[in-house]
């Protein structure tokens, strides 16, 4: 089974914090393949607002659709937009 993880990073290394990493590992340990999307790399203001002009929402939506995700988990509403919600096969939950 396959899971899209819409996370975020508020550090220079651009890696998930200790707790969201554990949740990703938790899903992996249950047997899910996990793809991590770093929502912080898509925003254009204050790390949480907007969408970078250089990034195509259509390309993102198309890519997600082709991955056939069984579900998606977002943290802090990262990448929660109509295009991503529609593109996930299964349900989307935002923590």
């Amino acid at each position: 089974m396959k899971l899209a993880f819409f996370g975020f990073t508020w550090n220079l290394k651009q890696i998930l914090d200790a707790y969201t990493s554990e949740i990703v590992s938790g899903f992996s340990n249950i047997g899910f393949d996990v793809d991590i999307y770093n929502g912080s790399q898509f925003t254009n203001e204050y790390g949480i607002y907007g969408f970078k002009d250089s990034i195509s929402v259509e390309k993102l939506g198309y890519y997600i659709r082709t991955q056939n995700y069984d579900l998606a988990i977002s943290f802090n509403n990262s990448l929660i937009i109509p295009e991503t919600i529609r593109a996930v096969n299964g349900k989307v939950v935002s923590v």
């Binding site: 200790a18 707790y19 990493s21 554990e22 340990n29 249950i30 393949d33 990034i55 989307v92 923590v95």
Partner: protein
């Protein structure tokens, strides 16, 4: 999510907008749960409250002669980035804005937020935050709350460093190394810790670990680190709050020692550093409360149930082959 203004919104500045989609939402704070149901009544059938989680595997024995590396440990970030510093610098260029900012910081020190101030029709909040910096008033309030949180955190270091505090911080603490000797003494060198196992190792080697929530964090919420420490060899000392989720998740008689003021925090640290048996008994009582129910695995299974995905049978989980984890390259989505 520890504060509603930390929520992403890719389409507008209204943080509530992304909560109006027909998906399920999960919060770890009863305050936020209540606030969202009030603000967006239709969300009530799609929102769930769960507790923070930890690794519940006990990686230590109960050896009472264990040698601790740290008397008191504190894993804490100094908040903000250059944004706060740059805008404080800009504020000093405008005496009238500087004066109002001082007033608003005082209000937050007294009440934790500008809620009462903003509801008072006699008070007029200037629009300078919006005009000068393009900030919403909510965002500006959060910046001011971060300033108060930072001041409290520095005070904690100054109080506890003489008791043997070891501070594990983010790089922002380095800004204080030249001006604050106690920060210099308490701060542990090395990179910021992103590995949960290392965080747990620090707690397991500390007699006491403290928790001081950020000013803007909903007052009832508990943080992941609270559950981490409660499941470790260390004694958690945290801020008092009779309606805290601590009691909702761990029972009304949860034995974690709490403080109302930094004076009390310091006194509790002094007490438990010299009353080892009492400290150890409380640690054992806290350990017993953090059952498998609070594990990351259980949290994942809860999230799966909200997604209506059937989890594998629990007794076969340990036999599952771990799935692949990969970061998706954002560059591929560029025009």
């Amino acid at each position: 999510m520890d504060q509603i203004h930390h929520l992403f919104n890719h389409l507008s500045r209204d943080v509530l907008d992304p909560l109006k989609y027909d998906i399920d939402y999960v919060t770890m704070s009863s305050n936020i749960f209540g606030d969202l149901v009030r603000e967006i009544p239709v969300i009530k059938d799609r929102i769930h409250l769960i507790s923070p989680a930890t690794n519940t595997d006990k990686n230590f024995d109960s050896d009472k002669y264990h040698n601790y590396d740290y008397e008191i440990s504190w894993i804490s970030s100094l908040l903000g980035d250059q944004t706060i510093e740059q805008n404080l610098y800009a504020i000093t260029e405008h005496p009238e804005i500087y004066k109002v900012t001082q007033e608003l910081i005082g209000e937050i020190e007294r009440h934790g937020s500008l809620k009462l101030y903003r509801e008072d029709p006699q008070q007029v909040i200037p629009n300078f935050a919006r005009d000068a910096f393009g900030w919403t008033m909510d965002f500006y309030e959060m910046q001011l709350q971060n300033i108060i949180t930072n001041r409290q955190r520095v005070e904690v270091v100054e109080r506890l460093e003489p008791l043997g505090l070891s501070l594990f911080g983010n790089p922002a603490w380095r800004r204080l190394l030249s001006s604050n000797g106690k920060v210099f003494s308490a701060l542990q060198p090395g990179p910021q810790i992103f590995d949960h196992a290392l965080l747990k190792k620090i707690y397991d080697n500390s007699k006491i670990s403290i928790n001081l929530p950020q000013v803007h964090v909903p007052s009832d919420a508990i943080q992941y680190r609270v559950v981490d420490i409660m499941s470790s060899r260390s004694l958690l000392i945290t801020k008092a709050n009779k309606t805290s989720d601590l009691y909702r998740f761990f029972g009304s008689d949860c034995p974690v020692p709490t403080y109302d003021s930094l004076d009390e925090m310091e006194a509790l640290c002094r007490h438990f550093l010299t009353h080892e048996e009492e400290r150890r008994n409380l640690v054992a009582a806290c350990n017993a409360l953090v059952t498998e129910e609070f594990s990351f695995k259980q949290q994942c299974l809860s999230l799966l149930s909200f997604c209506e995905v059937s989890p594998p049978k629990l007794d076969t989980l340990s036999a599952q082959k771990p799935g692949r984890i990969q970061y998706i390259n954002t560059d591929q989505f560029k025009y």
